[in-house]
Amino acid sequence: MHLRLRVWRQASATATGKLVEYDAPNISPDMSFLEMLDVVNERLMEKGDDPIAFDHDCREGICGSCSLMINGAAHGPMKATATCQLHMRSFRDGETIDVEPWRAKAFPVIRDLVVDRSALDRIIQAGGFISAATGGAQDANAILVPKTAADAAMDAAACIGCGACVAACPNASASLFTASKISHLGHLPQGQPERRRRVLSMVNQMELEEFGGCTLYGECQEACPKEISIDTISRMNGDFIRAGLTDWR
């Protein structure tokens, strides 16, 4: 395949960036998108140029490091697929591909396609956990969890924290990310004691990080490599309303 790339290049957080065009000949359709970028980078380095910086790690769609807005879609054109699992056979020979970083006020660009997603960690810090210090647990089977509840919790817990929901949302909202953790823990009996406190402080933190609000466009669900449902957002709102009207301290 012979492709043309237009890639966002930005030397540092404070520098101004721009889209730069690259010619990418001899690309195998069996390459993953990131392997294609590896090849482009090798060629850049052989010419003495700086390679394109991008986040990646496991390359099997589970660590959530990889990002990339590809032709205007978070993680590219393939549904339920992170960028690292996207293969070049999803593109046409001769195509021009735009590659941009996630864009949100809460995700400042660090360099090229690398952004700072630590806001998501701080949302978890605010309450995305069950307070169970090591050592005090009772026997695991003493807590019965109906299979339906365990399955629903697992559906939400599949979130890889990549931030595609924020990137895809026209409002740059982190609602799907936040709601998936709230749903995961809220479906389980272990998560009940802190359920109200959790939703209040996580939502509050989401606002402090300056993410947008949810308009239920549904773009997040479509972009999510783990296909997490916007049902979780509805659930979060329900929890928030109950807690907000009764428990706010």
Binding site: R6, D98, A104, K105, P170, N204, F211, Y217, G244
Partner: protein
């Protein structure tokens, strides 16, 4: 800070306000649309219905107050959320392809603005009578006002365009308000919105029926 204010300060709080006021609006437009259809039953039917409404006195005042407050809250919350949402992405994408969001959802803001303009003009037109496109207005003869106005092509056109905007606004709003309030049960395809489609289509058809019927001469 009071609990209510703190609740409202969050985006979800504002969405709750928008959803509740939006649902009030939906209830209102359905009732309004049903009343309008009395035009098909002739002058006496709709004129006496109008007379009945006015005779309720304080109740009508309360209803009007609720509706006005609802519209104001709906608009303020929408404006604040729009500002927050715009600020959340100071730099946009060069290339952005909407994947599944409906046209209706993406035009809530502009469509909403058009509806606001419509509501003001509509009140001036049929409630207060300050706008007289046909040159005549009578508080007692609602039927006459309708017939006179909807014989004019550009009045009909304005109403038709506004009702299309209302239809789209409801198509997204009727669905999303329930979800914003956390009232929907999980579904395998949460983006599906059959009820909202029905509400939007019925309200749109009901509102459009009268001006079109008058214009083509079926009524009056």
């Amino acid at each position: 800070m009071s609990r209510a204010l703190r609740f409202y300060r969050s985006a979800i709080g504002k969405k709750v306000v928008m959803a509740v006021t939006g649902l009030i609006g939906i209830a209102f437009v359905i009732a309004h649309m049903t009343g309008n259809l009395l035009a098909f039953a002739g002058p006496e039917a709709i004129n006496s219905y109008s007379h009945f409404l006015k005779s309720t006195g304080e109740l009508l005042l309360v209803l009007r107050a609720v509706l006005i407050v609802a519209v104001i809250l709906h608009v303020i919350a929408a404006a604040q959320l729009t500002i927050q949402n715009r600020a959340a992405r100071p730099m946009g994408y060069v290339d952005r392809e909407p994947q599944v969001s409906t046209w209706a959802s993406r035009t809530m803001r502009w469509g909403g603005l058009l509806l606001l303009v419509f509501i003001v003009l509509h009140i001036l037109h049929f409630t207060t009578g300050d706008l007289k496109p046909a040159g005549v207005f009578s508080t007692a003869d609602v039927y006459g006002n309708i017939i006179a106005s909807f014989r004019i092509w550009w009045v009909v056109l304005f109403y038709l365009i506004s009702m299309i905007a209302l239809g789209f606004h409801l198509y997204h709003g009727a669905w999303s308000s329930v979800r914003s309030l956390g009232l929907r049960q999980p579904s395998p395809n949460p983006l599906q919105r059959r009820v909202a489609l029905a509400v939007a289509a019925i309200v749109w058809a009901g509102f459009v029926a009268v001006p079109v019927a008058v214009f083509v001469g079926l009524v009056g």
